[in-house]
């Protein structure tokens, strides 16, 4: 750490000083006029700066960095358009509870409110997409604001915080007083001590349940409660279903793991939820994508909901026991009293409901020359032994990834769940790789989303970051096309999309590029991508009009699923070429 001088320092120096004291060693950003004093001071400090090609990508990178590591991601941008470009990234992080601190430059305080060059009211604009934000106009306020920003970002349900600092505050001088700036306001609303009565009620429900199911969400990872959730599941023999962001929080290949729930969840998982007599919702928030029609959701089940965010309890699904607390704390208090149980009957019913699902599964389709995205995901899982960190974009490929890549490791799937932000994957993957250089990081993106942010290929090259990229090219904005096919009588309005020659595109960036059109060529291409130096891209030309099954149409009940049609060509068991 740079030794702090005892005298006054510039506001810009205080920014870097504070970041280093918060343990930051990398920031993602883009310079500009109003943040220039801060960039000028940067060279004095041992913090790595990753220059992005668009500020939105800086937030996604910091987001990927934070999700891969559990640390706070940091973004730096200038005022005006630099700041407004952060908005989508902040909203993405807000909806998925990622701890971030975004620092933006602002015009000098004398010019505030005058519509000065590159002045926008970024604290006003980001109010609903941040946990909190600050407008700092004096150098002496920088350290308290930044310390509190980190505390707010990390505490309770994590989220993004923006600190807007005027140019004169960066240029002004103040003396560092770290101790005096210790944040306390974030402690105001931390959860109260555990509600013993609620714990007792939860235990009663668990004891009395015959068909319980755990709904495992993102909060498990955020709380670090993987061991406790597994202990609960194993002790009481309760199967678990996962939300999209819950994938990897507990291992997919665990015998009690059922798979993903919701709109594109497994049919037997959704059926199990509908037939259950007890839902244990752990660190999840009953998003409309996992409940389907609320009125018909889990009609026979008592419900226990544990989440650190009290405003999520009883929000959409009224529950019998609501506990606002850290999940790990609650489970540690509950576990010793949870009775050991055997639920082979219940587990047997769920197994039965799987029925012919495995046969309908397209990964078992015979290899008739057509390349399906499901093949790519399944094979990628096998070839990387399930050990990669996969960062997906948004759309069909995201759902196929969730269905076919079996995530066992924590923080091994990074995806924009709540916001569904296209263009997320590549920048987030670069951030994830920088957080965990030892990990094998794969981008899985569609041809549409990848074209939104592929300029970040150059960032990967400039920063010498190796990520492997699978572009799933079906020539359509596939998920929208699927909805048009199913619900808009096949009118494909604005969904066919042309792509550049991705191999040549990769080469233009100095990135290794390959194209795969047949399943037989897949393994070799993946192996090459893994072994070449630097970032490598594979374009997979997949079946153009394939759809994601099963599917709960928006607004339908959870058990009311559209199943994949079972064509006669389906084999009893497919040959797996991998």
């Amino acid at each position: 750490m740079t030794k702090a001088p005892s005298g006054p320092q510039s506001g810009a120096q205080l920014i870097w000083e504070s970041l280093i004291r918060e343990g930051v060693d990398i920031v993602f950003g883009y310079p500009g006029g109003a943040i220039l004093p801060t960039y000028d001071a940067m060279t004095e400090y041992s913090v790595r700066h990753v220059l992005v090609r668009h500020e939105q990508s800086a937030v996604h990178m910091a987001d990927g960095y934070a999700r891969a590591s559990g640390r706070v991601g940091v973004v730096v941008a200038t005022s005006g358009p630099g700041a407004t470009n952060l908005v989508t990234g902040l909203a993405t992080a807000m909806l998925d509870s990622t701890p971030l601190v975004a620092i933006t430059g602002q015009v000098g305080s004398a010019l505030l409110g005058t519509d000065a060059f590159q002045e926008v009211d970024i604290t006003g604009i980001t109010l609903p997409v941040t946990k909190h934000n600050y407008l700092v106009t004096r150098a002496e306020d920088i350290v308290p604001a930044l310390r509190e920003a980190f505390a707010v970002a990390r505490s309770g349900r994590p989220g993004p915080v923006l600190v807007d600092i005027t140019k004169d505050a960066q240029q002004g001088r103040a003396t560092m007083d770290w101790e005096a700036a210790e944040p306390r306001r974030h402690l105001r609303h931390l959860p109260a001590p555990l509600d013993q009565e609620a714990l007792a009620q939860a235990l009663d429900l668990i004891r009395g349940a015959r068909r319980p199911i755990i709904l495992a969400g993102h909060g498990i990872q955020l709380s670090g409660a993987r061991a406790e959730v597994l202990a609960l599941a194993e002790r009481a023999d309760i199967p678990f279903a996962l939300t999209l962001l819950g994938l990897g929080a507990v291992p997919a290949t665990h015998p009690l793991s059922l798979g993903m729930m919701g709109m594109h969840g497994e049919s037997w998982v959704n059926r199990a939820i509908q037939e259950a007599d007890l839902l244990l919702a752990l660190g999840m928030r009953f998003d409309d994508r996992v409940t389907g029609k609320l009125k018909e959701y889990a009609p026979h089940a008592k419900k226990i909901h544990i989440d650190i965010d009290a405003s999520e309890l009883n929000k959409l699904v009224p529950v019998d026991v609501a506990i606002a607390a850290d999940l790990g704390d609650v489970l540690r208090a509950l576990l010793p009293q949870v009775p050991v149980a055997d639920r082979s009957e219940w587990l047997g019913s769920i197994r039965e409901w799987r029925g012919d699902s495995a046969v309908r599964d397209i990964k078992n389709l015979p290899d008739d020359g057509h390349l399906y995205a499901a093949h790519v995901m399944h094979d990628l899982w096998r070839l990387t032994r399930g050990e990669a960190v996969v960062v997906t974009d948004v759309g069909q490929h995201q759902m196929w990834e969730a269905q076919y890549y079996k995530h066992d490791g924590e923080r091994s799937l990074i995806t924009s769940g709540g916001a569904g932000t296209m263009g997320f994957a590549l920048p987030a993957a670069i951030g994830a790789k920088l957080a965990r250089p030892e990990a094998e990081v794969w981008v899985v993106a569609g041809d549409g989303g990848f074209q939104m942010t592929f300029a970040e290929l150059m960032t990967a090259v400039q920063e010498d970051v190796k990520v492997n990229i699978a572009v799933i090219n079906n020539g359509y904005l596939g998920m929208v096309r699927q909805w048009q096919a199913m619900f808009y009588e096949g009118r494909y309005a604005a969904t066919p999309i042309l792509s550049p020659d991705f191999v040549k595109l990769a080469e233009a960036f100095g990135v290794h590029g390959q194209r795969v059109e047949a399943r037989g060529d897949l393994a070799a291409a993946v192996e090459t991508a893994r072994t070449v130096r630097g970032t490598a891209l594979i374009e997979f030309k997949v079946e153009q009009e394939d759809s994601v099954y099963p599917m709960v149409p928006a607004g339908a009940a959870l058990h009311d699923m559209i199943r994949r049609p079972a064509p006669s060509v389906l084999a009893e068991t497919g040959q797996d070429p991998v």
Binding site: T123, L127, K131, L135, T137, D141, V152, P318
Partner: protein, 179 residues
């Protein structure tokens, strides 16, 4: 149904926006919102009356508690256990012919006349929401020219421990205006 929320916040620029933005974004319908200083120089106090069901009101409380600037939120019912006061200024037609009639009503409602013009009076009335609505209804036949209300300020009856120990607000933001 009306619910009354008393919200203690840091006396800091932008806090009113944060609270108002929260209500707007979550679709909570505000009947009235008042804000002002308290017994402590660093703390502001808001009384928010929302028209909503009990579950939504409780959710509004939990959302308010997530704001960094919010020290404490109390949810009060509307009833005898609370004091709730609104102030109205009512400019009403009152030419010489009907003036005495209006003055009598003012008397009955224990309101005050604070301004007299040739053809009208300005009446000041403090009281519960129901009392003010009753006065307004009573005066309506005379012709109400202008009506201004402060919105409710509420306080629970009985004893109460002081609000939590002060946590000094950060001095960030611009302008001398609080909240």
């Amino acid at each position: 149904m009306s619910h009354v929320l008393v919200v203690y916040t840091d006396d800091e620029p932008g806090v009113l926006t944060r609270v108002a933005s929260l209500f707007r974004r979550r679709g909570f319908n505000i009947h009235s919102l008042t804000v002002g200083p308290t017994e402590r120089p660093d703390v502001s106090r808001m009384t928010v009356v929302v028209d909503t069901d009990e579950a939504t009101a409780r959710r509004a409380v939990e959302h308010l508690r997530k704001l960094v600037n919010v020290l404490e939120v109390q949810q009060l019912g509307i009833g005898r256990s609370n004091v709730l006061r609104d102030l109205a200024l009512i400019r009403v037609n009152a030419g010489p012919a009907r003036r005495s009639e209006v003055l009598q009503l003012v008397e009955v409602f224990r309101a005050n006349v604070v301004d007299i013009a040739e053809d009208s009076l300005v009446i000041e009335c403090t009281g519960s929401l129901g009392k003010i609505e009753a006065l307004v209804d009573t005066l309506r036949p005379f012709g109400i020219i202008e009506l201004g209300r402060t919105g409710a300020v509420a306080m629970a009856r009985g004893t109460r421990t002081p609000i939590k120990a002060a946590i000094a607000p950060l001095r960030t933001g611009t302008g001398s205006m609080s909240v």
